[in-house]
Symmetry: D2
Subunit: 257 residues, 4 copies
């Protein structure tokens, strides 16, 4: 029976990881090991300058889970380095409350946690769901079913080393999702704006505000697929080298001072 390690970025008590754990329990043994708080906005490194604590907890449906005061990547590292004894077959991170598309890869803790699994030599999947535009409470059940379908195939067919499948799902009921598209990363358009305010003691502080990021809904991209009502799967590797630029950089006359 395959062994699935589940983590996330939003904290062990977020609804997305519960939906994910429930859906993947049909595929094999599930171990949940996720941060004890929401890391969405505070970073993802491996923690090497302080020790970490591990604690047992439960999801809302009673599923036992492990949690630590480290980042999502720390949870994966702790699990795979030996806190969990049984060998793991696949690492799944999510379901993130909010999509991770295009250049969001740079920021995404959900993806970074999956990468930690890939760096350890395991197939890895990151799952995110776009939030409903009207601000209503997200229903993760369709995204969980699609995650189950992806993980089932990853376990069946395998993945090349150091690859993460980045899955994004629109906020629709399963029967309204048009299907699954294999995509490339699209082009995000960030619309951050600085908001300057003054605290009650008249000292300034700053919000990074503005509109949520938009994107170019190009055919073939994750952004395009979601815009049309499809779920997207984008295969990611960890090699960010821009090979096409190497030759011209070599012409930059490096001998000169």
């Amino acid at each position: 029976m395959p062994h699935v390690l589940i983590t996330n970025d939003d904290g062990v008590h977020a609804p997305g990881i519960l939906a994910l754990a429930q859906a993947l329990q049909t595929l094999g043994k599930v171990t949940v090991f996720a941060p004890d708080r929401n890391w969405s906005a505070s970073g993802h490194d491996k923690t090497m300058d302080r020790p970490l604590r591990v604690r047992e907890t439960h999801l809302a449906d009673g599923t036992p889970a492990l949690t630590s005061d480290g980042s999502p990547a720390d949870c994966v590292a702790l699990a795979l380095l030996g806190v969990i004894q049984e060998p793991v077959d696949v690492v799944v991170s999510g379901i993130n409350a909010g999509e991770n598309l295009g250049q969001d890869m740079t920021y995404s803790g959900t993806v970074t946690a999956a990468m930690e699994g890939a760096l350890a030599g395991l197939p890895a999947v990151a799952v995110s769901m776009k939030l409903p535009a009207n601000g209503s409470k997200p229903d993760f059940s369709a995204a969980a079913q699609i995650a189950r379908r992806v993980v089932e195939r990853v376990l069946r067919f395998g993945l090349p080393p150091r690859v993460v499948l980045n899955v994004n799902v629109p906020p629709l009921p399963l029967d309204q999702i048009k299907g699954i598209r294999i995509t490339r990363l699209g082009e995000r358009i960030y619309r951050d704006a600085l908001v300057t305010r003054y605290d009650p003691r008249h000292k300034p502080y700053y919000w990074i505000g503005g509109e949520p990021p938009d994107g170019v809904p190009e055919e073939g991209t994750d952004i395009g697929a979601l815009a049309e009502g499809y779920a997207s799967i984008t295969p990611l590797h960890l090699d960010l080298t821009l090979y096409s630029l190497m030759e011209s950089l070599r012409q930059w006359n490096w001998e000169e001072e």
Copy 2:
């Protein structure tokens, strides 16, 4: 006169950013805007759930600098969104105390800060120095000279949109560095190990310990270049799509439940 925005991952008072600022002052106007503490091990996101403070400070040589309680990426975002009024021509992040090679990209705050500049449409450079193997105090002067040489060319020749040059320098005097190599990312070998201990109240805690990462010193890679005594420059883009896997993923029979 070009305007260079300098940030880092190790905090505004780290010696690496001082060496960098001094070297780049010969190229134009320099603005230093870096975190008020070391972020090496605590993450790099853009901070959107709490407001940020900005404060004026000075480097050890008296150079005025801005600092914030946000991450390296936050400092770049704050600067470019309007805390700094004068347009910026290039974003330079570093000099990190420790190399950033191969799959380290996943973890590197130094690179993430440069990416924030690239996402904002600016050419961007990340600079890191391998630490001396004997544990002696690092001398950043050679790395600073090489950074100056790279940034000078970036200002002269430009970079395509959304590209970061990732520069790594060996811990050698300038005249012992054999030259500069344009490289691709190499293959890191992580050697983390779990260290379990018990606190004075008999509760366990965990260090992610083990040996520092090694790497495959292959010809043509950043790891290989450093191993031979060269500085390396690896062009990075933000598109992590593994295009070669897309077709086979499409064969995974997605219609089936």
Copy 3:
């Protein structure tokens, strides 16, 4: 019907506050407003340099509760400054997992939260339970019953302004607790010891370890009462002035340089 504001130091999801809320619901309307994490070891100030968030949550029995990312004192301040609209009649803090005796007042977040209520002009009670010596899971039900008895009387008889009743309960079933003693603060004997260790990168770190504090079990003190199997109630005020020393300090020849 009286309105009881309940907070604590161990975080809104700690078992002690649940037992307390359940017991006090028999006295009137209860509002729970407690920190979103354990503050036992991280301090108690009023937070004035950053804004605070307030969120709705539930205790394990479904009781609605408010929580914030501020300290215990912040929760009380937020509640009394207007986040809670209905006037509050008494502030109760606890049940702390661990006694707060003698000079522990200096450190106790449980007591500080109650003091915040006292500073706002309300009667205030801090409740703590000594933990079982054998490390078994604490049962807060007896302490909750005693807290109910104390709060009932505080509501009936009132307290002078700026007074906190500091209640400590031994870890015994209610019928084995010998009674309630009105006490003064006893003499703590701290037995901290420094534990020096080295992290996996050979850098030292320090635990403040040693044995848990002991105390002089003198007749009439809180420490003595607990040692004999009684619950203790110590009335506290906020005036730390050592009046008896003032005259001799005046003789210290202050005119001389």
Copy 4:
């Protein structure tokens, strides 16, 4: 030669501790051991659930200093438990930027750090300076001279066990300070007010704002002394017992359910 341990609440690089260290160097050997950041608004406990780091640093005038990532009380505890080898004769905390008067004792990290010294059996002094009303940069030199005068006498005459002298100085040049008064704690009037705002994503957050605390400038109190242009010295003990209330509490019919 006496050995003076100096700490503070505002962080090792605050100007107040520099002025204090310079003034006390005339009395004996000075060891500075203070937090690596400002703890004014984040608490003061002894840290027992995580290990602490100690690092060497320098004050702005080159004086060597120790710093840790713990609280002010942690710095005192670490020093006295053995990080500093040489026996300490007196613990001095400050100079705090801002007065600590009346019920501020409840909140004051400056006082708590001194109490940690008193709990360890040493004479202890807390020093705070009221900030200039016009917002100008505080000049700590007069407060440092008065601190020197107090510490000199403490070393000469000693203090009873577990006593802290709480010193407050007005923001005036030394020759305009009218003298030193031995005082009791006065009555603070807090004027906090809730300020509700909405972040750029339309979610509320709260500042604890309002006017700075006022106080009743009664003759004989610390608040009165400062209002008249005197420095105040208030002897504090750690026994918060309100003895006068004990008898009436005993009448509260504790036998009844």
